[in-house]
Symmetry: C4
């Protein structure tokens, strides 16, 4: 009993390990794809996107009941913005704790992928990704992600989030020009592997800027389409307890 | 409260944005596939079809509760035809409003895909697709689509529509010779990108004609197999409120 | 009212159209795959198997409530064998009617695929498929199919059959050496297209023989694992009314 | 009645046949992929991983209600470790019986795949897989597998296990460097086919060692994240009766 971890710490742990494994899935499958299918970049992206679809869906199932399975600072921030009048609102301190766990997890996940594939543990990507089209791509990708997550939360269908978010990212790898990072923590993590899924440091801040713009557009769409939904603060991405800012410990 | 958008307008907005994003998914993933897998047209279609399966399923989940997620004038018209005696019947004016939103959304979606991939915003496709086999292919594709949607609606299984319609289109990309447009709004939109998923203007009207023929065959099959189902006007494609022709505003 | 088709005829119609479309999916996607990916037979089978997985799952959803969505004479016969003491047992006459609809549907489905792809309407396949390994492959494929269908039926999980049967066939295309025909009606149909998914007439009877052997092994496994399940005669492949041998007409 | 197999024997039979078919799926689809797509190892792994995702999910559905569908000695052992205080705890003798059935099933499954594809029935793989990265890969793969299975069991979501475990393995084929064996019984079985999915005898013990380490890490994560869940001894991998160590016979 007394040795169990407190609920708030469990939530932060879930965000840390979950985001780490998400980046391991993205980067690791990218390394495997580039090694095994050297002659066709589309086939590499197909392998990478299918692995990410399956892996992300399972990670949401695995960590969701503990923390909501955000794995993404703009999701946590959007959760805070959207439910700003609700009693169950996520605390701003929790958003900061989640974001710190997500970003540090993202970096650790890249290291884990590098080590598994016998590469240098900490690389710096040289893959410059910045074009105007890519910037718009990230805006579209993140707007869609936020819209999907909070539309499901506001209509009581968060149990579908694991499959829906995985499928969304799997599609967005293809229909956006940027291959849909849509996540600042994952973007930072992917900076540390000089492989298929990497991103050069110079492209990171513009990508994060685009993600913030996209998140705001996605939120506007959610509010326009679902204006009067019940409070959903404990429904994003999947139903979970909202306890991170409480003082009590775990049961 | 008073600033929220009225329910009928929300439904039209959902059809507009949803159809736009559907065409962005189809055209955008087609451009990516053609760029990344230049040496195998089948691999391009596989990438395009998997992205569309996932993307369409998610879009139905995202917009369904607001408008039904038709994204397709023949679906809206079939809905009107099929429930012509029901009190909850969709109004003919609503069908027209939906169709206008769908077609204009389809065009905007192609523009968005073009811009994301650093192409000219508004292109005209040069991809002539008209053969006798393609015409029959479109008839089969649309008949199957209509049959699936209204069979699920008439048997109380509309909650499966998101996955089923996505999977159906993913299969029909392959088993029909026309790669299954099955949608006049999407057909018009795809005219405006000179890329993998485009269609030359000269092929558009025959394709739409085939889609209308197919829709009627699909409706006949639904009525033959499920003659005495309860009214399902608010069940296609997914359960939603039927309020577009009402005078009241949103809550 | 009086113009609606009687329930027994609706069930036979569903088996006919459903099996036809199943063969159209298999043969049509095979033709497309061979045309579009000429340089890699594995890629062709991947395209063919993914289209079949999605298409078969949707067809089961579409026709299931009317007839059970057997689409397969060994499934109908196994249904008859397995529930031979139940009041709701499928009549032997119904099995014959189902089988006739399935086989004729299978042939029509091949013709439809040929016509859509601008080929001769009725071809005879020249693809000889008979080896010892293929024979064992068909035994394994059909045993597994029967086991999956009736295990789900006997445990009240027939609502999962659409996804499960589609996924099973998608896997069995790969893990069996015969690419898993597992269905006499589909085997006969595939004889009439000289394309990727075709089968030469000389291989048809041995394949059907293997399928019968496999079905019996599958039934033995079901009875061994689930000996005391409730009657499941109206649960295979999906829950449906059992009315084909009744004299009454539809409601 | 009296001729039905006793419940404990049915559970062991389910583990034997289920693990055999799992190895048949893995090895058989690997042989087919290597034969049909000789020029791209990534495409081979994509074909192999998709077939395994679908096949494993279906096998869990098929055998789950009888035995839990462990198919994996570390899952059975983890089940024993995790619920060591529960009345419904799996008996240590049952773990041994399960493991024996799993390992012998795994070998038979490889033989079946070899025979179907007209190969020598019992081969010895020459595919050495041992590197430091592969060892870490197996640790990660097994930790994730155990975490997913018991997180779902402890939160009452074991009905999602079939889809989730299949998807997890499909992703882990790609994001781990070892292609995710994550199962001692399957590892032993794969030793007996000198084909795409084989593993040389010299790599087997290190792989199993890594799997045990990974399983312990996975269990630690489950206990940290879900410390106070209800007893879940009869929930892994899917809900089933816990009767293997009982003396009574089947109903």
């Amino acid at each position: 009993m007394t040795r169990t971890i407190s609920a708030p710490f469990r939530a932060v742990l879930a965000e840390f390990v979950g985001t780490a494994l998400l980046v391991t899935v993205v980067v690791g499958s990218g390394i495997a794809a580039a090694q095994l299918s050297p002659s066709d970049a589309g086939l590499q992206l197909l392998e990478n996107s299918i692995a990410t679809t399956f892996g992300l869906s399972v990670l949401i199932l695995l960590f969701g009941p503990v923390s909501g399975a955000h794995f993404n600072p703009v999701v946590s921030a959007a959760d805070w913005l959207l439910d700003r009048r609700a009693d169950s609102r996520i605390a701003i301190g929790s958003v900061v704790a989640y974001a710190a766990a997500q970003v540090s997890g993202g970096i650790i996940g890249a290291v884990l992928a590098n080590v598994m594939f016998d590469r240098t543990a900490l690389e710096i990507s040289t893959k410059v990704r910045l074009t105007t089209g890519h910037f718009i791509g990230e805006v579209v990708a993140t707007a869609g992600l936020i819209a999907v997550i909070f539309a499901l939360a506001r209509t009581g269908r968060a149990a579908l989030s694991a499959a829906a978010v995985g499928a969304y990212i799997g599609a967005a790898y293809w229909f956006t020009s940027s291959t849909s990072f849509a996540n600042p923590a994952v973007t930072v993590g992917r900076m540390f592997s000089d492989s298929f899924a990497g991103i050069a440091p110079s492209s990171v801040l513009p990508f994060i800027g685009a993600q913030i713009v996209g998140a705001l557009i996605g939120l506007a769409l959610v509010v326009a389409l679902y204006p009067d939904a019940a409070r959903s603060a404990d429904q994003a991405v999947v139903p979970h307890e909202r306890h991170i800012s409480e003082t009590g410990s775990g049961p």
